[in-house]
Symmetry: C2
Subunit: 332 residues, 2 copies
């Protein structure tokens, strides 16, 4: 593998001069610079990041910890973070933890040995102790989607509680009284928060869910099962804590012969692309996913370079997107 020495030899000069043109620091004659650049081009030489880091430079590596990237919400989030970070000069390890603390711990150990400059995490557990070694070394951590009480330097987390309230209120405003809630994964902090918001709004109207079904995995098939169970209680409105849950519910309702929104109103959360492309089109609360990703990337960057944070980290608001799955309940 070509090293700086190889280039120096090729250009008949010293490593110091090569280094100078590489970083254009110090003086180099135009002539020498030309020779060196020729050698570099010819060899396709790339300085070793390892050596640079070892020498005392920044690693420009960042770790991204997400439950998964095979569900679209996190796929979009991951891509927007990776791209923003790359443009800022960082390279990312995108890690899928499957909501498992054990997995997270393994990845954290890897981050440590790779000397990452920062971490963005949507962790399974709020305030998990395995983040302590990162903190101890002063490595900044940005929490995304979910808090990381006490361990995060900062956070990009939408108001899930409010989101939950919005979902419930939308159905209540339409006049629904028999409302069911389904969602997964149950141990996800954001899901729990949304659920709390839903229940709070319901309670304010003197209501309680006629059925509440939480599952472990975040997929259509399970959502279908949860919804089937919930529908046994004959709600007129159903809240999916994610779009995946809501879409599963559309199918369950369909298979039960229910017409949407005539017999059953359904609302979801996230506004993933599929939400607009199911039939009927799903009413949902939109999260500005890409925006969140970019914000997290920029926030981490500021943390890494030690720039003071702009306090007013105004995240774009959640917005209700009314499509075709919600309407007033039909007098039975």
């Amino acid at each position: 593998m070509a090293s700086i020495k190889t280039i120096a030899k090729l250009a008949q000069t010293s490593v110091a001069s090569v280094s100078r043109v590489l970083n254009n620091s110090g003086y180099v004659s135009a002539e020498l610079r030309a020779k060196v650049e020729a050698a570099i081009a010819q060899t396709n030489y790339q300085p070793s990041s390892d050596a640079r880091v070892l020498r005392g430079g920044k690693s420009n590596l960042v770790g991204i910890l997400l439950p998964s990237i095979d569900v679209q919400f996190f796929g979009i989030l991951a891509q927007s973070m990776e791209q923003a970070l790359f443009d800022l000069g960082y390279q990312s390890f995108i890690c899928s933890t499957a909501e498992s603390a054990a997995h997270e711990a393994r990845y954290v150990a890897m981050f440590l040995s790779r000397r990452v400059g920062g971490v963005i995490a949507a962790s399974a557990e709020a305030g998990a102790a395995h983040f302590a070694p990162l903190r101890a070394r002063g490595i900044p951590i940005v929490a995304i989607d979910r808090d990381l009480h006490g361990y995060a330097s900062d956070a990009i987390v939408i108001d899930h509680d409010l989101g939950g309230r919005m979902m419930a209120q939308h159905l209540i405003d339409f006049g629904h009284r028999k409302i069911a809630v389904i969602g997964a994964p149950l141990h996800s902090q954001s899901i729990q928060r949304r659920l709390a918001g839903v229940r709070a709004a319901l309670a304010q109207s003197g209501l309680e869910p006629v059925s509440q079904q939480l599952g472990k995995t975040h997929d259509f098939a399970q959502s279908y099962d949860l919804a089937s169970r919930a529908l046994a209680n004959r709600p007129t409105g159903l809240i999916g804590l994610t779009d995946i849950a809501a879409i599963g519910a559309i199918h369950a309702a369909h298979d039960l012969g229910l017409r949407i929104p005539h017999d059953l109103s359904i609302i979801g959360f996230d506004n993933i692309p599929s939400a607009a492309f199911v039939l009927p089109r799903l009413t949902t609360i939109a999260q500005p996913i890409r925006h969140l990703g970019r914000s997290a990337a920029e926030m981490l960057h500021r943390l890494i370079i030690g720039e003071p944070q702009t306090l007013a980290q105004a995240l774009p608001a959640l917005t209700l997107i009314q499509r075709d799955t919600t309407a007033p309940p039909c007098a039975a």
Copy 2:
């Protein structure tokens, strides 16, 4: 940052001994080992990968080049590769290239400076020259989903041509004669191959697409537009070169008042999770996505350690999954 020296000092011994317990090589007395391990635990010390690599070790880094991970097909693929690779001891850079050769080149340069041990790529361009520097250094490249003529060490690519034929044949077997094709992104090699397969099968039955609409971006909204255009030619069957295309077509047909499959049959390709959760449920050709990802990871690993490849890299076959969007054409 704690280094091996810190540990040595803490354990009152030399760096050499610490290194020995770290890699348990050579002799270390139980007593010394205990002291060293205590120091390591206490410090939460992790040896620097950079230094190890510099010293001459393997980097255990691999680069994964994909058009994107915000579409589910690639998200699933990326996650399965990353996980398999991590279990094999590698860390991955998952890079979204947006089908752009320029992006790819930037990432390749990064791979070079990071000294990755191998690369898995679904490249925008077959045989793109920017892979040459990797080849030159003997860095193995596994092509996935799409060939990389001349640049890949090996490839995990399904038979897209066959897949195309299967789609067309399914509709032909049902008796369809007026068949349209839509898909994107048009410059993707796999899309082109599937299209070729479709046209070949059609030609064998003396047919030609009544409309062929290819778009640039891989999303529902554009698919909707492509389908709307294609439907102007009144096909009885429509082939979506991806599930995304097919799902967009379902919506376009729906908005035009067409009943599926009564007025129009639709078939897709990939079998992403959404395919089973649209209404009506999409008939499609299933790719074993996760299996492909794992295979690519294992193949790259074998390449990296220099183990001879098992020639019979039997990939699981493509399978037709008939659901509710295809049926014989209705005599108009």
